[in-house]
């Protein structure tokens, strides 16, 4: 039938369409300001040379974990539901395209958009660091790039899954905000609370296995561990130390397990979203 797969057409068109959107300009703007400010802060407070470069790199971790999920969610949550509300989905699906082509194409298109924005702004920050301090913590910046990329793609996938699952923008927004609040801001506290209830104490040392498992499922933790695994950079394995010294650690305490966790965060939400979108009356 078609020379190229349908999802590729959708991804290309979505990229062309969203590349011209004000939303993308806004996202690039936020990332650019973030990147430039974080790179320059040590210089502004008087830290120069390699100390400054180290300080600057260290500043990136927390903002990446907070901002990228939100930006990715903003880029993704309207992707499909807006087309359903406006009626352009009827034009799209009047052509020989599968609904899965729409979901996959959107995930790829929007992932490229945000990862592209992340790369460009991250590079600008890195160049600025080099200009200000004469050196750059390459490995660490690359590790943060991986963390940022993982969070971008995971939250784009989650947001598009939400977008595919519901019939109105309002519902999509409510759902994605709830997911962000839980995953980004509350997840670790919820796990700690669970430990407190089950074990009767607030401990961050020698946490029980089930808590370790739950913590390892946090996308931010998974992204950090994946980056640490790839670059052996000082991004810190958030689970190091927490797991205790026991010789018999469960397999999910090992860093490589971050990769299947990331894949699960992309595939499971999208499978649910596709299932609901696939049987919806448009």
């Amino acid at each position: 039938m078609s020379g190229q797969p349908g999802w590729l057409h959708v991804a290309k068109k979505d990229l062309q369409d969203s590349a011209r959107s004000k939303l993308l300009l806004g996202v690039i703007g936020v990332l650019l300001v973030l990147s430039v400010v974080l790179s320059a802060v040590p210089y502004l407070v008087g830290d120069t040379g390699s100390d400054g470069a180290e300080f600057a790199a260290a500043l990136f971790q927390t903002p990446i974990g907070i901002f990228l999920p939100v930006l990715a969610a903003m880029i993704g949550y309207m992707a499909i539901v807006q087309e359903r509300e406006s009626g352009s989905i009827r034009v799209l699906l009047g052509l020989p395209l599968r609904r899965s082509d729409v979901v996959v194409g959107k995930v790829i298109g929007r992932s490229i958009v945000i990862v592209g924005a992340l790369l460009v702004t991250g590079l600008i920050g890195t160049v600025l660091m080099f200009a200000l301090y004469g050196s750059v913590e390459w490995q660490q910046m690359a590790a943060f790039g991986i963390l940022g990329g993982v969070l971008s793609v995971v939250y784009v996938a989650v947001a598009i899954a939400v977008s595919a699952s519901v019939s109105s923008r309002g519902k999509a927004m409510g759902l994605i905000v709830a997911i962000l609040l839980v995953l980004v801001y509350a997840y670790q506290y919820l796990v700690l609370g669970l430990v407190r209830i089950v074990e009767g104490s607030w401990t961050l040392e020698n946490v029980p296995d089930y808590a370790l498992l739950l913590l390892s499922l946090d996308p931010n933790v998974a992204g950090s561990r994946a980056a640490g695994y790839l670059f052996s950079a000082d991004i810190g394995d958030p689970l190091e130390g927490v797991a205790g010294e026991s010789a018999q650690l469960p397999f999910y305490a090992e860093q490589w397990t971050a990769f299947p966790v990331i894949v699960l965060w992309i595939v499971v939400p999208l499978a649910i979203g596709y299932y609901r979108f696939g049987k919806a009356d448009l």
């Binding site: 068109k13 369409d17 959107s21 009626g87 009047g94 009356d281």
Partner: protein
Amino acid sequence: MAAIDIKALQKRYGDVRAVDDLDLTVEDGEIYGFLGPNGAGKSTTIDCLLGYATPTSGEIEVLDYDAIEESVALRQHVGVLPEDLSMYDRLTARKHVQFAIDVKDVDDDPEALLERVGLQDAIDRKAGGFSTGMSQRLALAMALVGEPELLVLDEPTSGLDPNGARELREIIREENERGATVFFSSHIMEQVEAVCDRVGIMKSGTMVAEDDVAGLRAAAGGGSTLIVTLQQPADGLTATIHGRDDVTSVQADGTSLSISLEKNARKTAIIGAIEDEGYSIEDFRTQEASLEDIFASYTEGAA
């Protein structure tokens, strides 16, 4: 071969039966007008036909494909102009048509298609600034991509001015001459009368009439009206005329008389009868029942 063959189609939304046991056949090469007031179930039927919605029960076969199971393969051969559509604001008309060409993997020329639908001056303009009529034309250009065997046009004239509607009819005829079957829905009878070989009228989820235009007109009771202008007030005549077997109703208005005729009524006999009563006739004319009247006779009143 039937281009569209719908059997016992049902679509329920909760307790609402949007389409209730619909049978519908469109022959290959036909221009079929699918009529009905808003809410009659036309769009739901088309949604099921195109895979936008899944029927509750029933069978739909289109161009020998199972429209429910093989929707994607089917849409390769169908040109679709959906209802309530919207375009991608930031993409130009050319990009839209090119997208349809890429997805269908054909070699059409976007400019030629856009010229054909009258958008030659807007080829490189972004669709965000388009009027409803322009979006409708753009969607038509996308529907024409790949010389589809079947065109499904859902309310294609909405947003078009009379001139645009005429151009649309021309394109429908051209496509039909090329060999395409055309299935097109409207809630306005006169939009379909000029082009359609056959018309189906839907009401409350079922088909209430299906025939060619002349047949519908005949079935709706002939329905022509004789309008006679007299030289004197006509009031005194109504009782006599109304008493005739070939007259269904009479209305007097000053010196003019509107006489609704039975199917086989002979006008000369009625004119003669008026003159026999001693009235002088200044002028008379007959009025065919308008298609709107026929449409109304099927779709108004009790379900």
